[in-house]
């Protein structure tokens, strides 16, 4: 079962990169070498927030799980447990927010444009 999962995941990732390489090249080559930089940047932003959401989902799910179990054991303490749970959720959420900020920087402030353009020989 585990072996099948590993093999399947590897296939998926390699197909993703292969399709990327084949899709980005013609568009990039036709317009300018910078085109593929921007398409990779957009892809990076999308994957960044996806992975952040995945991790946050797991983390917050565990937090809620433990707090619900605590309330089930001791319904009188539900006020304190709920407050602590909300605080913990906000802390975990902030990690996803950091990833969102990085993704937005990549998309809207495109910081590496000048150095990469210079390296590729363009003038901006």
């Amino acid at each position: 079962m585990k072996k099948a999962l590993v093999i399947g995941f590897t296939m998926l990732v390699s197909m993703l990169f292969a399709s990327l390489a084949m899709a980005a090249e013609p568009a990039g080559g036709a317009a300018s070498g910078l085109g593929s930089f921007f398409s990779y940047a957009v892809l990076a932003a999308g994957i960044a927030i996806g992975i952040a959401a995945f991790g946050t989902g797991l983390g917050q799910g565990l937090a809620v799980k433990s707090s619900v179990e605590g309330i089930a054991r001791n319904p009188e303490a539900s006020g304190k447990i709920t407050v602590t749970m909300l605080i913990g959720l906000a802390m975990i959420e902030s990690l996803a927010i950091y990833a969102l900020v990085v993704a937005l920087i990549i998309l809207y402030a495109y910081p590496m444009t000048k150095p990469i353009a210079a390296a590729l020989g363009f003038k901006i």
Binding site: L86, I87, A90, M91, E93, S94, I97, Y98, L100, V101
Partner: protein, 225 residues
């Protein structure tokens, strides 16, 4: 994305003044909160009623909660904590009204709030411990002090960064989501469910900022005080 239409921007542009909207809305909220405070405290009675009741609820509840975390000495900095909580909560919520902007959706506002907390933390540490405040940064074992000191300093700067980015990211993200939903499906009232969530997260983020400030203050005051 189009530029949002903001009331104070439109009013000020008639006078040819171009002040950034987060600044003007901060002033607006300050005037609003001071005005509400003055109105609520005009006739203080022993048994509260009306506006005095609401404010006593908020301020009293916050004070009790704070003393639980920081202990009795915490009452000295309660005004700062209460101000930060109420100010950030109102700042976050006001962005949900059409034509208004949340000042906290701009990183300048949140950075300035985090820097206030940072400065106050160290001021409290120096006030309560004097020069011995440096022992907070040296770690438990004196022999490892050169290793601990940079880690602690970086940790303290990371606090400023995390406070800033958490508040900024949450509120800007929420404003962005509302703007995009409005652009995509405004006629079907698509932003409405997100607005309910936004009310909740606005208050929670204000509360988390306040709670973290309280814990930093408590941390800098303790240690064999």
């Amino acid at each position: 994305m189009e530029h949002p239409i903001l009331f104070l921007d439109v009013i000020l542009s008639k006078f040819n003044l171009h002040i950034p909207p987060q600044v003007t809305y901060s002033w607006f909220i300050m005037v609003l909160l001071v005005g509400l405070g003055v109105l609520a405290s005009r006739r203080i009675t022993l048994v509260p009623a009306g506006a005095q009741n609401v404010f006593e609820l908020i301020v009293g509840g916050l004070e009790d909660f704070m003393v639980e975390i920081t202990g009795e000495e915490g009452r000295a900095f309660f005004p700062y904590i209460a101000t930060v909580f109420i100010y950030i909560a109102v700042c976050n919520l006001i962005g949900l009204l059409p034509g208004f902007l949340s000042p906290t959706s701009n990183i300048n506002t949140t950075l300035s709030l985090a820097l206030c907390t940072f400065v106050y933390t160290h001021y409290l540490g120096i006030k309560y411990h004097g020069v011995k405040y440096i022992k907070h940064f040296l770690g438990p074992i004196p022999a490892l002090a050169p290793l601990f000191f940079p880690i602690e300093v970086i940790g303290h700067f990371a606090r400023v960064l995390s406070l800033t980015l958490r508040l900024f990211g949450n509120i800007m993200g929420e404003d962005l989501v509302l703007a995009i939903l409005l652009f995509l499906a405004g006629t079907f009232l698509a932003p409405l469910p997100m607005m309910f969530l936004a009310v909740f997260t606005s208050v929670v983020q204000a509360f988390v900022f306040t709670l973290l400030s309280m814990m930093y203050f408590a941390g800098s005051m303790e240690h064999a005080h």
